[in-house]
Point group: C2
Chain length 467, copies 2
């Protein structure tokens, strides 16, 4: 073939070389120009089309680069053999996976994982963000340490030491974008095929994560003090996931004796660890915060997880994990390779938020806000104590409500739903059905609600639950 | 025991109740007050110490909450049995893992993974950041969609469609904090125990990630066109990780024929996928960008990975993965549970950066910047072409240099190091030693360097490499 008649559009909307490239490509794809066929020389085609040779050169170069043709020295350009197994798809959209939808049928949602929106220190956060961006010389846009920036880790270590009794150096801290991510990283660090014991009920997001990652999860029903050491020993797990400061969702605090028993369990074997999720330890309304389990650990057995999702905002996406010193070499070997998941700008903002004392002030303020909401909800709920009993108060941002009106959990949730109120059945947080508990129990979170909303909601609940 | 003599500090530096709590706790921990012993009533202790009863109540409540004592109705308070296996650690710092240190011995570093610092549009980014924070009503601080915000995904889908020929809906896109994270998520979605074929040499960070996650990695030496289908078929892998637009580090472009062969390989079995890492496809200096492999895929077999680390900045920590529709149900089932790793603020900033046309402008500007640097380095290197030959040019932000002076790779790297210049041996990017290649090859990245630095460096290299 020595001639190709291509109708070129001179309007300039598409470069000339691109039109030539696209024409020849399509001809090859559709089989109109066959494999092995010789294409005109660039000189011939240029003169045929009345355009400059460099334009044709450019088109041919693209065709060569993409492999539609080859150049054979002294012989010219030839069309390549294309594997016909593959049909080119049309450029229409492929069917799209269904959209994950949130229901909007509730007027008042006692969400257990929210925060008080107004409580977030927007002004301060914005001001620090502006300063951080203005003062940056570009460093913050270069890749940082995979563990997280040292300056932030030093702040976190100091906070953890003073507020939570956690015993660690900044170098044991790994900053990550959320607990789910940190559990993934932990999975890489610890390796596959672990058996893990978890409370039932528990923070199901973690149990699901472990299951999806291939760990065998043993759900253990806790007593009032938390995970039962005998059951733990029996089940054969070598990891145990606990929330000693405030069990989610039951709200129990693990007493010192039980903590020591769990630590002793972990100390018995080399490859045994306790994962302490200290998710909302900041909010305690009676007494001072319960110190962390990690702080009592002298055998280097506790993997400590903390987050700013509760204390600051879920969308901040900054969590941290404190590894025992004995796991640091495994982190170096297996985990260091994974780049940090939090931007340096965000890390710097949080560091400044700590350093300027805002975090402490914010926590104190939020404790007040949540205590007021907590007290309001408790006093409202007392009005219907003939219908239900409150448990798990004094800490966190939700309460447990045990039905005394003969309703099943599902009936209680459904009755509330009909009144436009969302409460959460305890069953939602169970890995498997509970054996030792027959009371219908629902959870009510108060972080996102105003006092007016809570008053209104409890009045409505009194009606639908009280018959 | 009915008396406890506690010396209280009235200065106010520690609350009274806390001093009482700490004193009794320490006495119990040290064994001075024994298990089973009865503690004084709150009334007795208060009058003994001459303080209010509510202060003692508060201290006792904390001791009860932490499990140091129990309250027995009508009988009083008793010290609990503590498991003596566990000694409380002293509050001194545990030994700290060694700090990861970067070497500073190089004056000029031909880093292959950097970006041009000056090129980052700080002003625009800051301005958008300010606007986003100022206009936000708090929504951005609530947890968003685990896939990433839809508005951002729509922008990415549109960009990918137009610039890369990627054929996808926004709902197939998953936004994540970096490629390493997305590979972890992919690991959860696909499940354990896959065999994956990778080019050797390759982007080692990915091969290490797969290995750490327990995948069996098959390193295949590519020819000039990329991964060889026969070798792929032979090795028994069902995943193949390729960089068709610009193989890292070799710089080769996979021709259409080879692409079709790989797609045909994937189409042969249900659970076979190609992972296309399109890491730096934005930067191509000759012709138009090579369309993605994903765009040619009509059998829904390509998992496409892209990042803003190269095109914007490494510390932005925003990457994305386009899943084939056939994998979306697995994502819903296994991956949806994992919360998003990029903050909504950052997602919103990037969305605005796209929507206001900054991304396109930025890419065009950076193509110019990198082309100039590229041309400068090439023309400098031509002066020493008797010593070494250039390969892998025309795209990306690094070149390959094959030594013709008889030096081994190690000798070339070492000679450069003595001159204060860092170049990178090809071996660093190998999963295992190369069999089919005997030429000593080094990589030189130019993204972070100025023209002056490159000129100076090549002069120095001419001396140390030219004898």
């Amino acid at each position: 073939m020595n001639e190709l008649t291509i109708s070129l559009d001179n309007s300039g909307s598409h470069p000339m070389y691109e039109q030539i490239y696209a024409y020849i490509r399509d001809e090859i794809q559709s089989g109109k120009i066959r494999a092995g066929e010789k294409l005109p020389s660039t000189r011939t085609l240029a003169s045929h089309l009345g355009i400059s040779r460099s334009t044709v050169d450019q088109a041919y170069e693209q065709l060569l680069a993409e492999g539609y043709m080859i150049a054979s020295p002294c012989r010219g350009y030839f069309v390549c053999e294309l594997d016909q197994l593959y049909q080119l798809p049309s450029r229409t959209q492929l069917p799209v996976a269904e959209r994950h939808q949130e229901s909007k049928e509730y007027r008042i949602d006692f969400a257990v994982n929210g925060i008080d929106k107004e409580g977030f220190p927007y002004q301060t956060w914005r001001k620090i963000s502006r300063n951080v961006l203005n003062e940056d010389d570009g460093t913050l846009f270069q890749l940082g340490e995979s563990q997280g920036e040292e300056a932030l880790r030093v702040e976190i270590a100091s906070y953890l030491h003073h507020a939570r009794g956690v015993n660690c150096g900044a170098n044991q801290i790994i900053v990550g974008a959320g607990n789910d991510y940190l559990l993934m990283l932990l999975h890489v660090i610890l390796g596959m095929d672990w058996k893990i014991a978890m409370d039932n009920p528990t923070y199901t997001s973690a149990s699901v994560a472990f299951q999806k990652m291939g760990y065998e999860v043993f759900p253990l029903e806790p007593d009032d003090m938390g995970m039962i050491p005998e059951k733990l020993e029996e089940c054969g797990a070598d990891l145990a996931y606990v929330m000693p400061s405030h069990q989610f969702p039951l709200g129990s605090v693990m007493p010192i004796q039980r903590r020591q028993q769990l630590l002793a369990w972990a100390a018995k074997k080399e490859h045994r660890y306790l994962i302490e999720d200290d998710y909302d330890s900041e909010f305690r309304y009676k007494g001072k915060p319960i110190p962390s389990l990690q702080g009592f650990d002298s055998h280097d057995k506790v993997i400590y997880l903390g987050t700013f999702s509760k204390s600051l905002a879920p969308a901040i996406r900054i969590s941290y994990m404190v590894l025992p010193v004995s796991l640091m070499h495994r982190y170096e070997e297996r985990g260091r390779n994974f780049s940090v998941t939090v931007s340096r700008v965000d890390q710097k903002i949080l560091e400044m938020f700590f350093r300027e004392g805002h975090f402490e002030r914010h926590l104190n303020r939020m404790r007040g806000v949540y205590r007021t909401k907590h007290d309001c909800l408790i006093s409202e709920m007392k009005k219907i104590q003939h219908i239900c009993r409150i448990r798990g108060e004094h800490a966190g941002v939700h309460i447990l409500v045990e039905m005394k009106n003969g309703m099943t959990e599902q009936e209680a949730v459904e009755a509330a739903r009909k009144a436009g109120i969302k409460v959460y059945g305890l069953t939602e947080y169970c890995i498997q059905p509970l054996k030792d508990r027959d009371t219908a129990t629902v959870l009510m979170g108060y972080a996102t609600l105003s006092e007016e909303q809570m008053k209104e909601a409890v009045q409505l609940l009194a009606e639908v639950w009280g018959f």
